[in-house]
C-alpha cells in the first residue's frame, strides 16, 4: 500500500509541476535565478542517482572495473549516437565482457 501511495504522491507532485503555470500562474514569470538552478537539477540528480544505484544497503559503493568500463563505453556511445538503444547495447556488452574477463 505504501508503494502505491508513494507512486500516487509522485504522480500528484508531477502533475502540479506540469500544471501550475498553465492553470494558475500564467501571468507570473519564473525568476531568472530559479530558471538557472532548474537547469542543473537534471545532471546533478542523475550523477547522484548513478552512485546511489551502486550503493548497497550497508552504504558501501560497489564500483569496479566492469562498471567503470561500461560507463565510459556507454557514455561515449550516447555522445556519438544520441541513441538510448545503442547506449544500452554497447554499455551492457562491455559490462558482460569485462565481468567475464576479470
Amino acid at each position: 500500500m505504501s508503494d502505491f501511495l508513494a507512486t500516487a504522491v509522485v504522480g500528484l507532485g508531477t502533475y502540479l509541476f506540469r500544471a501550475i503555470f498553465i492553470v494558475a500562474l500564467a501571468k507570473r514569470r519564473i525568476p531568472e535565478t530559479v530558471l538557472v538552478a532548474l537547469k542543473y537539477v537534471g545532471p546533478a540528480v542523475l550523477g547522484a542517482l548513478i552512485v546511489a544505484l551502486l550503493t548497497d544497503s550497508d552504504g558501501n559503493v560497489a564500483i569496479g572495473i566492469p562498471e567503470v568500463a561500461a560507463f565510459v563505453a556507454g557514455g561515449f556511445v550516447a555522445h556519438r549516437t544520441r541513441s538510448h538503444v545503442w547506449t544500452l547495447v554497447v554499455g551492457m556488452t562491455v559490462y558482460w565482457l569485462t565481468l567475464a574477463l576479470i
Partner: protein
C-alpha cells in the same frame, strides 16, 4: 477528412519515431519492478499515475533498494522538477484553450510532447489542441504497454545477466545527452561525488544531499562561465 483530424494524424506520425528510444527505458522499468519484488500492478500504475519514465524508474529502484519512502518520493519529484519550465513555457499558449484542456493537458506534458509542440505554439487553438492530444495519447498508450511488456519479460530473464545494471547505463545515457556546457558536467560530478562521500548517511539520504550540492555546484559554475 477535417483539418483537425489530419493534424491529429500528424501528431501520431510525429510521436512514433520519438517513442522508439523510450522502448528500452520502458522495458527496463518493467524488469526493475520485477527485480524489486514490488507488487507488479503498483509498479505498473506509475506508468499512468506519474507518466514520466525517469521519475518512475527512480521511484521503483529506490523503493526496491530499501530507501526511506520519503527520500524516494523526494528524489523522484526532484527528477521531475524540470516540468516547471515546460509549464511556464506553454502557459501563454494554453490561455487560448478551454478550461477543461488547461486542467487536463498538463497531465500529458512529457519531454517529447514539449519538444514537439514548441514549434506549434502559434497554431490555431483547435489545431494545437488536436496535435497535443494526439501526441500525448500515443505516448500514453504505448508507454503503458511497453512497461507491461517489461513486467512480462522480467521473470523470464536469467538473473546471471545482471540486467539491473541497465538502469545506471540508461542514466549515463540521459546524463550525457543533457550535457551541453561544462557547468552541467560540474553539476553531475559534484552530485555523484557528494553522494559517494555521503553513502553512509541513514536511509540513503546522501542521494538528496548529493543532488542538492550538485545543483548548487552547477549554478556556481554557470555564474563563473558567464563572467
Amino acid at each position: 477528412m477535417s483539418v483537425d483530424r489530419a493534424i491529429a494524424r500528424r501528431g501520431v506520425i510525429d510521436a512514433l519515431p520519438l517513442f522508439v528510444p523510450a522502448i528500452p527505458f520502458g522495458l527496463v522499468i518493467g524488469l526493475a519492478i520485477t527485480n524489486t519484488g514490488m507488487n507488479p500492478f503498483v509498479g505498473w500504475s506509475g506508468s499512468w499515475l506519474i507518466f514520466g519514465g525517469a521519475a518512475q524508474l527512480t521511484l521503483v529502484t529506490l523503493l526496491g533498494g530499501g530507501v526511506a519512502v520519503a527520500a524516494a518520493v523526494g528524489t523522484a519529484l526532484v527528477v521531475n522538477a524540470r516540468h516547471l519550465m515546460y509549464s511556464a513555457a506553454l502557459a501563454p499558449t494554453f490561455q487560448r484553450q478551454p478550461r477543461w484542456f488547461r486542467w487536463f493537458g498538463p497531465y500529458l506534458l512529457i519531454d517529447q510532447l514539449f519538444a514537439l509542440t514548441t514549434v506549434r505554439l502559434d497554431d490555431e487553438p483547435d489545431s494545437f489542441r488536436a496535435y497535443y492530444l494526439a501526441v500525448g495519447a500515443t505516448f500514453w498508450i504505448l508507454w503503458s504497454v511497453v512497461v507491461a511488456l517489461g513486467l512480462l519479460l522480467g521473470p523470464v530473464v536469467p538473473e546471471q545477466w545482471n540486467l539491473e545494471f541497465a538502469i545506471p547505463i540508461l542514466f549515463i545515457g540521459l546524463l550525457v545527452l543533457g550535457i551541453e556546457h561544462w557547468p552541467e558536467l560540474v553539476a553531475a560530478l559534484a552530485g555523484a561525488g557528494v553522494t559517494y562521500l555521503a553513502a553512509g548517511l541513514p536511509n540513503r539520504t546522501g542521494l538528496l544531499v548529493g543532488a542538492f550540492i550538485g545543483m548548487i555546484a552547477g549554478f556556481v559554475a554557470e555564474r563563473i562561465r558567464r563572467e
